[in-house]
């Protein structure tokens, strides 16, 4: 495989130019995204939640979702643990016997609007985006329906319209993005009668949460869930009991999801760059080996042939010489024989004439 110098330089230049088109990729860095400045969040305080489900009703109304099987004021629904579904962006679960002194505790489940969302990192058409205001939005016009976002989300939030044959969508809380962009409150926050949901800038919410813990240390577990989990979320939680008792995972760690795959992704350009070099090298080496092998073979063949020829010739000469000698010997014998032959009739004739004379 030969290539002209000009061509080679041309390819190199093209490759170099292409690298300038991409944005900076950061795999393992010391940088940590703490949210867009002035981005909002919601603080859920389960010491204030009374499990009335008005937030579910508000969300349903504001997002024009399908009506549920049981009405929102049916509190028997809380007897079962539920999760988000294609018809409900948010659900409230009841946890009995965790705070037995004062009664059951409740938890509202919805998208946590992570600072570095796993769904946005996982989506291969960038259908999810972390907006500057803080909401993680979903663009249904590009979604292909691969559902990788549902695999990626550590909180198991996104749901899918499996029933819909033609235009299924991923369904999840939008933080009422259109409403908050207009300065309105999210539907759930507006509906909550006890302000168990507080809506403010995320940095302010952290202050508020810390202040509540400071003022009433006996009321709260000293931890704001979502401050650091999975790199930080916009939805924060305060609880009267350890979070695992209200069904929230405490083992998710603080690494944001995109960092989990950054390592693997950073390997891609290395493979693209180095593999062709490696493989071409292997090819070149094996080709060279082949060439050397065939040359050696040829040399061996020629040498063998020569040797064979020489040996053959020597044998031939020997044979010829021997044949000559034998021929000579044969001639000699023949001559001798002929001479003897010639000599014998003379004597025979002489004897014969003698006998004839006698009669």
């Amino acid at each position: 495989m030969s290539i002209s110098r000009r061509k080679f330089l041309g390819w190199l230049a093209a490759a170099g130019l292409s690298t300038s088109v991409t944005r900076t990729a950061r795999a393992a860095t010391t940088q940590h995204f703490t949210g867009y400045p002035d981005s909002v969040g919601v603080l859920f305080d389960n010491t204030r939640c009374i499990g009335c489900r008005k937030c579910e009703a508000g969300c349903n109304k504001v997002n024009e979702l399908a009506a549920p099987d049981q009405p929102f004021d049916d509190l028997a629904v809380l007897d079962n643990q539920r999760r988000t579904s294609a018809r409900s962006y948010t659900v409230v679960n009841r946890y009995d016997q965790v705070n037995y002194l004062k009664g059951p505790l409740y938890r509202k489940i919805q998208c946590n609007h992570c600072l570095e969302p796993a769904c946005a990192s996982a989506c291969f058409v960038r259908a999810f985006a972390k907006s500057k205001i803080g909401a993680v939005t979903y663009d249904e016009t590009v979604c292909v329906g691969c559902r990788y976002c549902m695999i990626a989300c550590p909180f198991e939030i996104p749901t899918y319209e499996y029933d819909n044959a033609i235009t299924p969508r991923v369904m999840k809380c939008t933080l009422c993005y259109p409403r908050i962009s207009k300065g309105l409150l999210p539907g759930c926050v507006e509906s909550c009668p006890t302000e168990a949901l507080t809506y403010a800038k995320r940095e302010d919410l952290l202050q508020i949460a810390r202040e509540r813990i400071r003022r009433f240390p006996q009321r709260y577990v000293d931890h704001i869930y979502g401050e650091h989990e999975m790199g930080g979320t916009s939805w924060l939680y305060l609880s009267a009991v350890p979070f695992r008792q209200i069904g929230m995972r405490e083992d998710l760690g603080v690494t944001p999801a995109p960092e989990l795959t950054a390592g693997a992704l950073s390997g891609v350009p290395i493979v693209v760059g180095m593999w062709p070099v490696l493989l071409t090298g292997i090819y070149a080496i094996s080709k060279r080996k082949e060439k050397l092998a065939s040359e050696e073979k040829e040399l061996a063949v020629t040498t063998a042939v020569e040797q064979a020829e020489a040996a053959a010739e020597a044998k031939l000469a020997e044979a010829l010489a021997q044949a000559d000698e034998e021929k000579k010997k044969a001639i000699d014998i023949e001559v001798q024989k002929a001479l003897e032959e010639a000599a014998r009739p003379e004597t025979e004739e002489a004897e014969k004439s003698e006998t004839e004379e006698d009669s």
């Binding site: 499990g51 909550c192 302000e195 403010a200 003022r215």
Partner: protein, 530 residues
């Protein structure tokens, strides 16, 4: 034939593949085992046998032993405690079939041979018996939870015990002589066992747990043998919550006589010179303290007298001392986190139902006005210099206590509106007809006999501040809407909006007071729908 064989082989492969796939899926579908939070067994008699810990790391998981189960089973066989417990010093020892933990293999063998032998015997008699194989006792996963509640003497129990022993204190109370290494009784020095017997067993002092079991249970057992009524001998009798509730409580226990004062000053203890010398005297006014009243308020002495039965200030000096572990008098009296401090105990009292309605929403460590100090710190003793006898001091203390106002002051009914119509935020619901006077009367009535409450609510209108907060005392407190408006005001991040202010004010109080009706989620219970 070739085709047939290949067909069969193909079928065999297919079946194997199918089976493996199904099995593997089935394994996956198994899910997670139930968490130990759903333990189906909660018992008070759960003992963990891990005594070999003293000899090094355990090779096998510790064994869960249910004591009451065994005593009940042995009772059925007409066997008693001596089946397992050996006698020592005329008392049954606490260990199983031994008096000492001698050597690792010896102890292990005792458990193994004795336990398993008995189990085998019982099983041979066709009765329900215990495990005989290793893994059935040394279980990896323990599904039984201990529900053992701590147990202790209180006034009522002590009275009943004293009566049973004809007030012979020496039956239980003893002191220890280091030199002679003997126990003896010293009158006037009786105190709780816990003053000497602590959490762990020491050289010559067993732990409280051992001491209690050795003394109490032994005495109960012996008394029961004499066919007299006595306390429990099984675990659940003392440690099971339900059984504890069934222990007879004597309501009016006569005062234990231990030379304690009736009314006294809480003050720095020192000589007359120290008290009168401006350099060493206490600067804060002294606090008159009714010891006799506080004896009534508490179930036992050790709530306050956590180390001995002397005055607090004997260890907790003004500037701290070694005996008091450098905890100064101020901290000993004011620490909000300790039950034995004055304020700490008063704080806990605020958690009572009738107080918590208001007090749960008040920040515990809020800055209080200096006047509140004077509720307790009433007089400077250095005024009374010279030869003040103890008796005189006590009389002064009593006089001061009497002078303290102990009445929750409320406004007259005429000033307290009967009904308040809350109509500021009508959207989906009609106005709320709040039975205002009824609430005020209930709140006042709840605490009218509570001296602690009354001392601090003696200013008129104080209890109104439970709802009408963050404003001066008045018969015309500002409307809620004067301060509470739109929610999530960034300038007032901790102030709820009006709707939440209304709702949480009522709902939190109801929750803390344990009021069942109206239910918080029953909206129309408070305001009718439009």
């Amino acid at each position: 034939m070739e085709k047939g064989k290949s067909g069969l082989r193909g079928a065999g492969i297919f079946v194997t593949v199918a089976m493996i796939s199904i099995l593997s899926m089935g394994l996956g579908v198994r899910g997670v085992p139930p968490s130990s939070d759903d333990a189906d067994k909660v018992r008070a008699d759960m003992i963990t046998i891990d005594y070999l810990k003293t000899f090094g790391k355990l090779e096998r998981p510790a064994v869960v032993f249910l004591h009451d189960k065994h005593t009940a089973a042995l009772e059925k066989q007409n066997k008693d405690c001596t089946t397992c417990h050996l006698s020592e010093n005329n008392r049954l020892g606490p260990k199983f079939k031994r008096l000492k933990d001698t050597h690792k293999t010896e102890v292990m063998d005792i458990f193994h041979t004795q336990c398993i032998a008995c189990h085998r015997e019982t099983a041979a008699n066709e009765e329900k018996s215990g495990p005989v194989s290793c893994g059935d006792c040394h279980k990896e996963e323990i599904t039984i939870r201990s529900s053992r509640q701590p147990m202790g003497m209180d006034k009522s129990l002590h009275y009943r015990h004293a009566k049973a022993h004809d007030n012979k204190c020496e039956k239980c109370h003893h002191e220890y002589n280091e030199q002679t290494q003997k126990l003896y009784y010293q009158q006037g020095k009786e105190g709780t066992c816990r003053y000497c017997h602590g959490k762990t067993t020491e050289e010559k002092k067993v732990s409280m747990r051992l001491a209690a079991h050795l003394s109490c249970i032994d005495c109960h057992r012996k008394t029961l043998e004499k066919n007299q009524s006595a306390g429990p001998v099984d675990c659940s009798g003392c440690h099971e919550l339900q059984e504890q509730k069934m222990i007879e409580v004597v309501q009016k226990v006569p005062r234990i006589k231990r030379n304690q004062p009736d009314i006294v000053f809480v003050k720095k203890i020192g000589s007359v010179d120290e008290i009168s010398n401006p350099k060493t005297q206490a600067r804060m006014k002294a606090v008159p303290f009714s010891h006799v009243a506080h004896e009534d308020y508490n179930d036992s002495c050790r709530v306050c007298h956590h180390a001995d039965l002397n005055a607090c200030a004997s260890c907790h000096t003004l500037t701290g001392s070694k005996e008091g572990e450098q905890i100064k008098l101020e901290q000993a009296m004011h620490n909000l986190n300790a039950e034995q401090s004055c304020l700490g105990c008063h704080q806990i009292n605020q958690q009572e139902k009738q107080c918590a309605g208001c007090h749960a929403s008040l920040e515990q460590r809020r800055k209080r006005g200096e006047e509140t100090c004077l509720t307790c710190h009433m007089t400077a003793l250095n005024e009374n210099t010279g030869n003040t006898s103890r008796a005189d001091e006590k009389a002064l203390a009593a006089k001061l206590l009497d002078s303290r106002v102990a009445v929750t002051a409320s406004y007259k009914d005429a000033d307290v509106p009967e009904k308040v119509v809350i109509d500021g935020l009508m959207n989906q619901y009609k106005a709320v007809d709040l039975p205002h006077r009824k609430i005020v009367h209930t709140l006042a009535g709840n605490i009218k006999d509570n001296k602690l409450a009354n001392y601090f609510h003696s200013d008129v209108g104080t209890i109104c501040q439970g709802c009408h907060h963050n404003s001066p005392l008045s018969t015309q407190p500002p409307k809620c809407a004067s301060c509470h408006g739109r929610p999530f005001d960034p300038d007032q991040p901790l102030r709820p909006g009006l709707m939440a202010a209304y709702h949480s004010q009522c709902m939190e109080c109801h929750k803390e007071m344990g009021i069942k009706k109206p239910v918080a989620t029953d909206c129309s219970g408070c305001h009718k729908e439009k």
